[in-house]
Every structure is written in C-alpha cells, then in structure tokens.
C-alpha cells in the first residue's frame, strides 16, 4: 500500500505545482503506464527506455505501475504506430531514436514525428568523425586539405542513415568532395578503418569509445551543437568553423492529442530523471551527450532534424 500513499502525495504535489492546472490534472497520473519500446531487447532504444523506467520506479517518480513492452518490427514502424494510435491516452509513452525520424521519411508509415506529444530530449546521439591515430590526418584541417587535394573515403553504417547525413552536411560545410562508403554493421565499420580500407568513418561514440580510449582511433570532431559531456576535449564541427550540427533524439514522446497539463507533468518528472546519478551513469556508459531540451522546444528540434535528414536523403537520391 506504500504505492498508493506515494501516489496520493505525488498527485497532490503535481497538482499544486501546476498553478493553473485544469481539473483533469488533479488525478493524473492515477493509472498504469504502458511504456512501449519500438525495438527489440538489448538495443540502444531498449537500454535507454529501461533506464528511464528503472529511474521512475526507483525514485517513485511515477505513482503507479509501469509495464514495459517491446513491439519491434519495420525499423520502429510497428511500435511507433501503436503509440500514435493511442491518441488522447495519457498512459502511454515511448522513446525516440534515429528511426523515429528516419523510418517515416523512407517508408510508408501511418505516423511521423509531428504526430506525437513531445516531452523532452534526454540525451543526444551525435556522431564523431574518426580517423586512425597512425594516419596522416592529425586534425580536421589536414583532412579537409587532403580532401581538396585528392580524394577521401568516409564510411558509415547504412546507406541513408544518420552517419551519411552527418558526412554529407560536413562535406557541404567544408566544401569538399568525398566518397561515401556504406558499411553494414558497427563491427565491420570498425574493421573498415583498422584495416586501412577507408580514410575516415562517421560513427556513434559508443561504437568507437573503446578504440579511442585504447589510442587506436582519434576523433576529429563531434556533430552535436555542444561538446559531448563524455568527451569534453573533442571540439564540435561548429567550433572548428564548419557550420552545421546534427544529432539524433534520445527522448520521450507521448501519444497525440493530450491535455497540455499531462505534457507539463511529464516535463517536470523527466527533469528529475536526468538529475539522478543513474541517468548520468547511463550517459557515460553509452557515450551519449546530455544537454536536455524540453516540451515544444523538443518538438522544434525534431522538426529541424527531420528537415535536415530529408534534404540529405533527397540530395543522395534515396527518396524523391
């Protein structure tokens, strides 16, 4: 019965903290929350979602039971569609990642990022431009010079994924020509660089953090708008004079058509989540940068990311 008591106190505090809260918010939340993960267990989206739910439970931030379910399939299409179709239901939530933006752009889904109620960007998943430490490219200037003098190859996972978008935005900003080599998985991406097959890779920090720590790889720049909280020594592209930023949203969204008070409740709650040591530990282990943004600002960030993504996909001919 401890749960019930915390529920009452929390509901009251929640109601009090929202001065102009409508009647509806007085008993929100009072039911079981279903947290849908649109991907399989063990993957990036799954780890983030389970961390958030564990923190909500541990600190009793959500006054009720939380059920976590994996609904994978179609690169997130199935799970996100499920949540989208729960329009108006304040007891459903899901986590965003790259496919939240990408999948609707490349395939025929019944949802886009704009359908959901944005709560917050908890972490950003940006990319490093990586070279081998024993290569001739000691700095990004050297790399750009080499690209202007001859020809460079940059590899990244997937043909039309965030890696390609980052590489393409960088090439535009630096005014260079490059050859993009799509490589299937994270493992083959690492060996493409260690074996000297390509000049550089664009990769997620968690895929290459071990190699950077061991001194095999050097990160030249980071694609987020602020430096990574994990690798504060690596400059952003913008700092280096290449004016672009690109990152993928690791955030939380709720179904469409919700009471603004519900959105406010979740923003306030998740602001507590990102303060916990557990969340900070998650950021470090998974190589993510933690510069959170909230509510409608998060919505604007999603729109901006989607626009950049779409432009690059059109540019390379992946979509019409």
């Amino acid at each position: 019965m401890i749960k019930r008591r915390t529920f009452t106190t929390l509901a009251v505090t929640a109601a009090l903290s929202l001065a102009a809260a409508p009647v509806f918010a007085e008993n929100y939340p009072s039911e079981r929350l279903t947290y849908t993960i649109a991907f399989g267990p063990g993957g990036g989206n799954d780890r983030m979602s389970r961390t958030v739910v564990d923190i909500l439970k541990k600190y009793e931030l959500y006054p009720g039971n939380i059920v976590v379910e994996n609904r994978e399939g179609g690169s997130g299409a199935v799970g996100f569609s499920f949540v989208k179709n729960k329009a108006g239901d304040p007891y459903a939530a899901t986590s965003t990642s790259g496919n939240f933006i990408g999948t609707p752009l490349v395939s025929d889904t019944d949802w886009t990022y704009a359908d959901f109620t944005p709560i917050g960007l908890l972490a950003s998943d940006a990319m490093f431009l990586i070279v081998r430490s024993d290569s001739d490219f000691g700095s990004i200037e050297n790399f750009v010079e080499a690209a202007k003098a001859g020809r460079v190859t940059i590899a990244g996972s997937g043909s039309a994924g965030p890696e390609r978008v980052t590489a393409s935005l960088f090439a535009q900003a630096a005014d260079i020509e490059y050859e993009y080599v799509p490589i299937g998985s994270g493992g083959e991406l690492v060996t493409a660089l260690t074996s000297g097959s390509v000049d550089a890779v664009v990769a997620n920090p968690s895929e290459v953090a071990g190699q950077i720590e061991a001194g095999t790889f050097t990160a030249l720049a980071f694609s987020d708008s602020a430096r990574s909280t994990n690798h504060p020594d690596i400059p952003t592209f913008q700092e280096l004079g290449y004016d672009f930023s690109f990152s993928l949203p690791r955030g939380v969204v709720l179904p469409p058509e919700l009471d603004p008070a519900v959105q406010d409740w979740w923003v306030a709650t998740l602001q507590k989540v990102v303060e916990t040591p557990e969340w900070q530990e998650y950021l470090v282990t998974n190589g993510m940068s933690g510069n959170p943004i909230w509510g409608e600002e998060f919505g604007a960030y999603l729109a901006d990311t989607s626009t950049k993504y779409e432009a690059v996909l059109k540019d390379i001919g992946a979509i019409n």
Binding site: R50, S107, D108, E179, E213
Partner: protein, 512 residues
C-alpha cells in the same frame, strides 16, 4: 606465455566455477539447447528475449548465462536438422545434408550422439584456441576490410556447388532464386528501396530464417504427405543407452577422426572473421570434407563425416566469434551483436580495453565456456532418447506439431504476420524444389551470402574508384584472390586434361 594463460584461466575459473556461476551456466546451456530446438528461434532471438531475466544478476554471471544460451543453441539447433530436416539457423543448414538421411536410415541415435561429440570437440578446440590466441587473432580480424570480406564470401559461394546435389543445373537455379530474394530491401549504394512496395517490414530485406523454415520444414512435410508417409504406421524405434544401436560404431569414429580436427580448425578461422562466421565455416567444413574424401558419392546420403564436419565447424566458429567480440568489441553475427548490447547494458565498454579493465569478466566468460561445453555434451546425450522418441510418434500426429512450431518460429522473428506469409510461400516453393530435385540448401545459403557479397563488392568498388585494384594491392586480399583463382582453376584444368586424353568421355555432364 604459458604462465600467463594458466593465471588467466585460474582467475576465470574462480568466477565461473562458483556455485552461482555454475547454476546459471547450467540454466543458460539448457535454455540454449531448447532455444536451438525450435526452428527459427535462433540464439539471437533467444538471448534477446531472456536478457530481462538476467537483470538481478551480477554482470559476469549474467553474461556467462547469456553466452551459454549462445553456444548451447548450436547443440540444440542440429537436433531438428537431423530429425525433421529443418535447420533452425543458417549455420545448421549444412548439417541437414547428411544428418537427415542418417535419421531416415534408422541411425538417428548415432547421428545425434555424433553431433553432440562433434559439437563438444569443435566448441572445446575453439575455446582452447581463444585462450591461446586471442590477442594475436584480434589483429588478424582487424586487418579485414570490405575487399577481404568479399573474397572470403566468394570462396563460400564457390563452395556452395559441392552441396547442390547431383544435378548442378538445378542447383544453380536454386542458388539464383536465393540471390533474387536477397535483392529485396534497401540498396546499399543509394539507399533506395528495392521490391519493398513501400512496406516498412521489407526494408530490412527478406529474413532468411522464415525462408529456411518454409523451404525445409513445410516443404519437407508436404513432400512426405505426397509420398503417403502419414498413412504408414509408425516405426517403433526403441532406443536406450544399453542398446548397441544407440551408440555410434567404432567405424564411425575411425572414419571421422580427422574430420573433427579439420572441421574445428576451419570453423574457428571462419568464426574469428566478422560476418557470417558459423554459416561460412559449416559450408566450407562440409565441402572440404567432401572434396578430400575418397568416396565423395557417399555424401548427402547419410555419411557420418558429412555431419561431423559442419557440426565441429559451427561450434568452433561460435567460439571463434568470441575473439573479435571480446578483444575488439566487434560482433560477428546477430547473436554476438545482441550479446554486445548486453555488455553495454551491464556497463562493460566493449573494445580493446575490455580485457585490460575487466579481466575477471573476460576470463570468467572464457573459463565458463570450457565448463559449458562439458555440461552441454552431458545434457545432449542424456536427452537424446527423449528426442528420438519423437520419431516413434505416428507421422499423422507429428505434422500438426511441426507446422505449429514452424509458424510460431516464423512469427516470433519480428512478431509480425509478414514473416508468416513468407513462410507459407517458401513452404510451397520448398515442396516443389524437393519434388523436382532442386536444392533448398543452395537457395537459403545464397540468400544469406548473396546480399553480403553484393554489399562488400560495392564497398570495394566505391573505395577503389571502380578499378577493383584493392583485390591485388592489399596483401591479404591478394592471397585470398589467388586462393579463389586456384579453386576455380583446378576443376577446369582437371576437366581439360581429362578431355584431351580419352576423347570418348566428353559426355555432357548436365544431361544426367
């Protein structure tokens, strides 16, 4: 060096042989066998589903258990290959070629014992090699770029010809069907979709597991029904440990004594290379065995060596795949990729520093694999009479159970009905293939390898600006190119020499 190994292993054993370690190892190995038994429910899915079960454990114990599921499924996966001709995974496709005929000849018992022994042998050789060679092998794997991968896959594709059966023409058509299905999905170059018809389920391509279960499982069933097998009374196979029929004969062991070694060595090397290690290893293991045998005509008709080779190979490969995973953080297969995800979840940073920062974890895991293989051989041999009982059940009653297993397996891949439809269609195609002598094994393996070959070829093409010079300017590639050319040249040369001598024997081989 030897002292290092001993101290590393004793550190590992202190973790793995703790009561808690052993308990979860047994659970993992057992669950792995069960997971392997369900067609389509491979190790990747098994580990993924069971990850939440490990949340209360310490990281090392959790990974020991998950790794047990991983290599345990290699033991279980062959059981369905032998008994119902349905490989649960691409790595056990090669085991159907001789395993199923063995069961049909009434030698299911010896075949199952032999596969357990071969699995144990391959797995143990694999772990010994990990212990000794992990650091140096990691560098070897790190030198593999797209051009090297393409050449290795090309060797694997050439090896396909040895498992196509007698009629090469139909074999090629079977492989071409596999290649065609492999083109579905996103084009690696442009990111444009091919034959997906806008469906998000098809973006990732046609998953081979549904195709494999359909072609083999459903196809086999329909063919048996056509032959009226369901009308026949069940053969009573009484099998017990005391029975002489249960154990492999001295001749079985004697004939395959070198096969164990060859299969394990080939499998391990294939496993170390990221990509489709266990699958390539089992194909190459099988075809090498057939090529060097004095009596290759026995293969495919229930030859013990034809089962031992791919089994030793795929288990050695599953051990070999741990080398790049532990030393470089590079997953070599779907299952090891899920394991890598579990590492991250437990706060272990994969990469070259893992073995430096967390030696208890790395060596604990390696030591647990020695114990795990021992547990698994005991488990599988004790459970065999149970599995063989399955053959006692009248075929009429078996059919619905197999159909049910196949449908659940296909649905479980993505929890979507799309895979179930792929299963149904592949089942009908598999039936026709079986009836008219085509090779479902060639189709499935071409599907797996074809898209990998395309990707790595195009990567090489882009990097070399269309000149393809990587194939001879990079040292490892050059060696692989020469091997490839030799494999192609030798049969042509032999055929040429034969043709020039006795002119009478120029009969058209395709006309058989």
């Amino acid at each position: 060096m030897l002292a290092d190994i001993v101290s590393n292993l004793s550190l590992g054993l202190s973790v793995a042989a703790s009561p808690e370690g052993l308990l979860f190892l047994v659970i993992g190995a057992f669950v792995g066998m069960i997971v392997g038994l369900f067609p389509g429910f491979g190790p990747a899915a098994g580990i993924a589903v069971l990850i939440p079960m490990t949340f209360g454990l310490t990281p090392t114990i959790a990974i020991i258990m998950l790794a047990g599921i991983y290599y345990g499924s290699m033991y279980g996966g062959t059981i369905t290959s032998i008994l119902i001709n349905t490989p649960g995974e691409s790595a056990t496709v090669a085991s159907t070629l001789d395993g199923y005929p063995l069961a049909q000849k009434g030698r299911a018992g010896p075949a199952l014992v032999m596969q357990a022994v071969a699995s144990f042998f391959g797995g143990t050789i694999g772990v010994i090699l990990i212990t000794a060679l992990a650091p140096s092998l990691a560098n070897f794997a790190a030198s593999f770029g797209p051009s090297e991968y393409f050449l290795i896959i090309a060797v694997g594709l050439l090896m396909l010809t040895t498992m196509m059966g007698d009629n090469k023409f139909k074999g090629f058509i079977s492989a071409l069907i596999g290649f065609a299905v492999g083109t579905v999905g996103v084009d690696v170059m442009s990111g444009q979709q091919r034959y997906t018809f806008g469906s998000p389920e098809m973006i990732g391509g046609v998953y081979f597991v549904a195709v494999a279960i359909g072609l083999f499982g459903i196809g086999e069933l329909l063919h048996c029904i056509l032959n009226g097998q369901h009308l026949q009374p069940a053969k009573r196979l009484r099998i017990s440990f005391r029975d002489k029929e249960f154990w492999p004969t001295r001749q079985d062991y004697h004939e395959s004594r070198f096969t164990f070694w060859r299969g394990s060595a080939i499998g391990f090397i294939a496993g170390v290379l990221p990509g489709s290690g266990a699958t390539l290893g089992s194909i190459i293991g099988y075809s090498v065995e057939k090529k060097i045998a004095k009596d290759p005509e026995k293969f495919g008709k229930g030859e013990m060596r034809g089962l031992v080779a791919p089994e030793a190979a795929n288990n050695a490969a599953s051990a070999g795949a741990m080398v790049p995973l532990l030393s470089l953080g590079i997953p070599g297969s779907g299952a090891t990729a899920v394991l890598l995800g579990a590492f991250l979840m437990w706060g272990l940073q994969p990469g070259p520093m893992l073995i430096v920062n967390d030696p208890e974890f790395v060596w604990g895991l390696i030591a647990s694999m020695y114990l795990g293989n021992m547990i698994l051989i005991a488990l599988s041999i004790f459970a065999i009479p149970l599995f063989v009982k399955f053959l006692d059940v009248p075929y009429v009653n078996v059919v619905p159970v197999i159909v049910l297993l196949c449908v659940i397996g296909a649905y479980a891949i993505n929890a979507s009905i799309v895979e179930t439809w792929i299963l149904v269609v592949s089942g009908l195609i598999g039936f026709a293939m079986k009836k008219y002598g085509y090779s479902p094994a060639a189709t499935v393996l071409a599907l797996v390898l074809g898209s990998m070959a395309e990707e790595t070829f195009l990567q090489t093409y882009i990097i070399s600006q269309g000149t393809m010079n990587l194939f001879w300017t990079r040292p490892v590639s050059l060696i692989l190119s020469l091997i490839l050319l030799t494999i192609i040249a030798i049969p042509v040369l032999i055929a040429f020499l034969r043709r020039t001598k006795p002119l009478k024997e120029t009969s058209d081989q395709r006309g058989q």
